[in-house]
């Protein structure tokens, strides 16, 4: 079980959190004309990286804040966690 530092609450066990996917994905802006390919990339395609990965987690049984985690997908090492509006 991972030990994750919520930027709002501090170190908590993984069972308080929900995984939220790749944090580098940006939703296309509303009302913007985009190609089918661009939209499909956003909706369906995710990289399955081995190594450093920037991802979202949701402190679902805590403060209910979404935040960013930089984690190694093969070793589970967590390098850094920051608030949703901060950059790593």
């Amino acid at each position: 079980m991972l030990h994750i530092k919520c930027p709002h609450c501090g170190m908590r066990s993984q069972n308080e959190f929900a995984y939220g996917g790749d944090a580098s994905v940006k939703r296309p802006e509303l009302n913007k004309e985009i190609s089918d390919l661009e939209w499909d990339n956003f909706v369906y395609l995710r990289k399955s990286l081995r190594g450093k990965h920037l991802e979202l987690w949701h402190h679902i049984s805590g403060c209910r804040q979404w935040f960013k985690v930089q984690r190694d997908t093969s070793t589970h090492e967590i390098f850094k966690t920051v608030k949703a509006n901060e950059d790593i």
Binding site: L2, G20, P28, W66, T75
Partner: protein, 998 residues
């Protein structure tokens, strides 16, 4: 009955307390402090079971967690447990145990015939033999294997014992209380660190209990006892015995199984039997020691062949002799320690040493005691079937390839020592890159991945002095890093005997013409010949060899067999062991009961049960409940002997003719506040929200980004910047996370807050033609006319003194209102509704009637919004705005979503107007078509229409738009039904929706 093999003046057992027990139905006694194994050995019992494959007689091989043989079925307090190691099970009054793997009895076992059918069970025998003919598997092979194999029988009764889980944090977690565990715990504790010290055995001290050493002018045991006593009194230290750390997971979380009651005749009231600890440690010190390696020779599985360290432990801890004519067979000095203990207690041992001319203090001591030692000698084979009676021995050449003349030697047990294997399971589980140490012919921990340090014998350290020095240092350094304290304990003076180099030889060659079985894996009956066959057949990877031969795959996880298996493969392959590699160590280190893992989460505690504030009223009024997610909801209110069908029909009918009331508290409710609330709704719903007036509700549909319908519900504008959203019961939590995601991550510029209010409001829906009259009486001050409170209107009022919200919304298709009051007033509201509603012939209705009402109206719900359908499929395309953008809109122009023959919800009526159509049935054109019959659609929900008094179903049907009026078949192979049906509009009742607006 006297105990022929118990000594009077040695051991740590309590001779004042006799304990009686039964083994295979026969009564024996032992003493407090015995294990089942030591008590049986004291009574001269060596035959304890039969082996897994060949059903050869099995005795005791070890004295603890590494035991591969002596597994029993345990009976305790009217419960039974399989796969119990007799070497770990402490004796308690009334203990009963039986052998496993034998039928009809341990002395006469039919399965032993396998022993003579060697050809039947070589390596890979499962794969080869039981594959053919195919039809034999169920009838012949499987029943045979099931009868013959297994390590006991699991109880099928409900386990009444209590198991607990506990979470703990500490600075240092120390696994094992031998010399290194005690020293590091003591050094760290004295330096102010929060320490947990775990020991799997009942007694602390590990090898200090049996070794002849002196630490600071005390015996090893005295030193251990004093340290433990002091540690127990320190507030920053938790000391646990009978506690096995069995798994090492990410981020330094370890799990430990604590056995609190297994050593007692029964568990004390309100006490747990076992407890699972989740421990998050800043640093972990692994002091798990080492396990002696067997030497491999003919019939080395005969009862009476035992690890020499185990023989010493039985003698020194339990005062038990495993034999009176011991033969010690060793390739290192450890065997001598056992021989010396025998000699000191009046027993004459003989030592066979594979080495030619070793010299050390211990060897000198043995010589001085007059012990007979034969150098360059090996045991070729043990003789005797159910117990060792003698041994065939021979001199071995210097190159270890040639045996001399075979000699026979009388003995009643053979104590083997093939040097030591560090217990590196935890280190390996932590991700440590383990490495091979040539000096000790074994793997040791290498580079750590997590904050973990391995100490002492587990790290391949051979001397006590070095072990204690390392451990004092590590305990001090690591605690200093955490606490910044600087109290250092000085190393005591240590006296121990020096030993010399071990022999790398471990596997005795077969003499010419002999076919003795030489076992590597004692629990799974894997012999040298099996590994040879596997390699001959082309298996090379050690992982493949393991699976093909089952070497190391038993419940003991190869604790005594792994390394010898690797050595054999490397010898045959002419490689060195590190090139062969090692198989993966996985948790658990030793078997853990399912009860411990599950803990308290059994029965109704396996998940929360949510009840509405009106629950007790429903109970009192004969509600039959149904699980709706984690909620309990009334399915129907039973009158007399009514069935579900009759009751729900009555309730639904009453809604259509009079008025009914339904508990809708479970609906998800989300409070939305902020200047941008309307903008948020406009983006998450498919329809327009910017112009919703205050005091009005609107129905909305939400999509996922891939265009699939996620949820539906109504949202009401309570004030300029305040909205009340409802979601379906099942999606409540997901929708909140969904909104939070978009607000926090995607559109943080929106000034909106959302919070769940599901539990803050109790909800009652009153529905039916008389609901307005009822509402007027409940709220006399409110204008309830169609103009005053129109469809989708919202108003607040006083319900006999309590504040209420009134929404004119309808799920049933009838004129209907939903009243919400604060949860605490829910019961009060309900009672008032029932009381006032009497004159309108009100009846409560449950989820079954609720479903009936929505199905015949063609309202889609969870069974249609099933995560596979888009708005069009649910005839909700009218809800999709063409003007604005919203979540998922861009996906709706996907080719499949705009296909002209796209699936759509339809109504389905059986032609005979009698036969109900099972949900999940497939709709097909031709009932007799060849399989697989092309599926046109499926029945999503079925009911008995109370309006027309015949069955009615909803279905999702390909090209549904153009199928109205078609005749098809609904087929349910599960229910064995084929029903001719007609496709009709999904809006079966009141297709124009006039009632809700009346």
């Amino acid at each position: 009955m006297s105990q022929n093999f118990r000594l009077d003046n040695i051991g740590l057992i309590n001779r004042d307390k006799k304990i009686s027990f039964k083994f295979n139905g026969k009564s024996y006694f032992g003493y407090e402090g015995d294990t089942l194994a030591s008590a049986l050995l004291a009574n001269g019992i060596h035959l304890i079971g039969r082996s897994f494959k060949y059903h050869r007689p099995r005795g005791f091989f070890g004295a603890g967690v590494d035991e591969p043989y002596a597994i029993v079925q345990l009976y305790r307090n009217n419960e039974t447990e399989p796969n119990v190691k007799s070497t770990e099970q402490e004796l308690f009054e009334g203990l009963e145990a039986t052998s496993v793997n034998c039928w009809p009895s341990v002395n006469f076992d039919i399965g032993a015939i396998n022993n003579f059918l060697k050809i039947f069970l070589p390596a890979g025998f499962y794969y080869k033999t039981f594959m053919w003919p195919k039809s034999f598997w169920y009838k012949v092979y499987e029943p045979f294997i099931r009868k013959a194999a297994g390590l006991g029988v699991a109880s099928i009764k409900h386990d009444k014992e209590r198991y607990e889980h506990k979470y703990e944090y500490c600075d240092l977690l120390i696994a094992g209380s031998g010399p290194s565990g005690l020293a590091s715990a003591y050094a760290a504790a004295k330096n102010g660190a929060r320490v947990i010290l775990a020991e799997d055995k009942p007694r602390f001290g590990g090898t200090l209990l049996t070794s002849e050493v002196n630490i600071g002018n005390q015996t090893g045991k005295e030193w251990a006892d004093n340290i433990i006593t002091e540690l127990k009194e320190m507030p920053n230290v938790t000391v646990k015995n009978r506690s096995q750390i069995f798994g090492y997971y990410d981020h330094n979380m370890l799990v430990m199984s604590e056995k609190l009651s297994d050593h007692l005749p029964k568990t004390k009231k309100y006490h747990p039997k076992q407890r699972l600890w989740y421990i998050r440690a800043k640093e972990v010190l692994i002091s798990s020691g080492s396990i002696e390696r067997p030497l491999v020779f003919g019939n080395n599985d005969t009862p009476g062949v035992m690890l020499s360290s185990a023989a010493k432990e039985y003698l020194k801890v339990y005062g038990v002799l495993i034999g009176k004519k011991p033969l010690i067979f060793t390739n290192n000095d450890s065997g001598y320690e056992t021989a010396i203990e025998f000699k000191k207690n009046g027993i004459i041992p003989v030592i066979l040493d594979t080495r030619k001319d070793p010299k050390s203090e211990i060897i000198d001591e043995a010589k001085n005691l007059g012990i007979e030692i034969k150098f360059s000698y090996v045991v070729v084979a043990a003789k005797g079937y159910k117990k060792v009676k003698s041994a065939e021995i021979a001199k071995i050449s210097d190159d270890k390839n040639e045996l001399g003349l075979l000699e026979s030697i009388n003995c009643d047990c053979i104590c083997v020592s093939g040097f030591w294997t560090p217990t590196i399971h935890l280190a390996s589980q932590s991700g440590n890159k383990i490495k091979f140490n040539k000096d000790i012919d074994a793997f040791v921990p290498g580079v750590s991945k997590q904050n973990e340090t391995t100490l002492g014998a587990a790290n391949g350290t051979l001397t006590l002095e070095e072990t204690l020095k390392d451990s004092f240092d590590s305990g001090y350094e690591l605690s200093k890093k955490i606490t910044n304290n600087d109290n250092k304990i000085s190393l005591p003076v240590i006296i121990e005997k020096k030993s010399t180099q071990h022999d790398k030889f471990w596997c005795v060659p077969l003499p010419k013409g002999k076919t003795y079985k030489r076992f590597l894996d004692f629990q799974n009956d894997v012999a040298v010949s099996d590994v040879e066959i596997a390699l001959k057949e082309g298996y090379r990877s050690i992982e493949h060899v393991k699976r093909y031969t089952t070497l190391g795959m038993a419940t003991d996880q190869g604790k005594t067999s792994n390394l010898n298996g690797l050595q054999l493969v490397s010898n045959i392959e002419n490689k060195i062991v590190p090139e062969v590699g090692h198989t993966t160590f996985r948790p658990p280190y030793t078997p853990v009961t399912i009860g411990t893992i599950v803990g308290r989460e059994v029965g109704k505690h396996s998940r929360p049960t949510r009840k509405s504030p009106m629950h007790s009223w429903h109970e009192k009024n004969n509600a039959v409940f149904v699980d709706a997610g984690v909620w309990l909801r009334p399915r129907y209110y039973k009158q007399g002997n009514e069935t579900l069908f009759e009751g729900s029909k009555r309730e639904a009918k009453n809604v259509r003719t009079n008025v009914g009331v339904c508990d809708v508290t479970t609906l998800g409710k989300i409070d939305i506040k902020g200047p941008d609330a309307a903008e948020l709704l406009n983006r998450v719903y498919t329809n327009a929200w910017l112009k919703l007036p205050i005091g009005k509700a609107r129905y909305g549909v939400m999509l996922r980004e891939d265009g699939i319908v996620m949820d539906d519900g109504t949202t009401t504008r309570i004030s300029e910047t305040h909205y009340h959203m409802t979601t379906t019961t099942a999606q409540a939590a997901n929708i909140l996370s969904h909104l939070e995601y978009y607000l926090q991550i995607v559109w943080p510029e929106l000034n909106v807050n959302v919070v769940s209010t599901t539990e803050q409001w109790a909800g009652a829906a009153i529905a039916g033609p008389k609901s307005r009259e009822l509402l007027q009486k409940l709220f006399p001050k409110i204008d309830t006319s169609n103009e005053g409170l129109p469809f989708m209107g919202y108003v607040e009022g006083e319900l006999f003194g309590v504040h209420a919200r009134i929404f004119r919304i309808s799920f049933s298709g009838e004129l209907a209102y939903e009243i919400n009051v604060e949860s605490d007033n829910g019961n009060y509201m309900w009672q008032k509704i029932m009381e006032i509603g009497k004159e309108f012939e009100i009846q409560p209705y449950g989820t079954e009637a609720l479903s009936t009402l929505r199905i015949e109206m063609g309202h889609v719900a969870g069974s249609e919004l099933d995560g596979r359908t888009i708005p069009y499929d649910n005839s909700l395309e009218g809800m999709v705005s063409k003007k604005k953008d919203f979540i998922g809109k861009r996906s709706l122009n996907r080719q499949a979503f705009v296909a002209t023959d796209r699936q759509k919800v339809v109504g389905v009526v059986p032609l005979d107007k009698k036969t109900s159509i099972p949900e999940g049935s497939h709709l097909v054109k031709d009932a007799n078509a060849q399989l697989p019959n092309p599926k046109l659609g499926y029945i999503s929900a079925s009911c008995w229409s109370v309006e027309f008094d015949n069955p009615f179903s909803l279905a999702i049907l390909k090209d549904g738009k153009n199928m109205i009026g078609q005749k098809l078949f609904a087929m349910s192979p599960l229910k064995n039904k084929t029903i001719p049906v007609e496709i009709v509009s999904s809006h079966y009742v009141d297709p124009k929706g006039e009632r809700v607006r009346s």
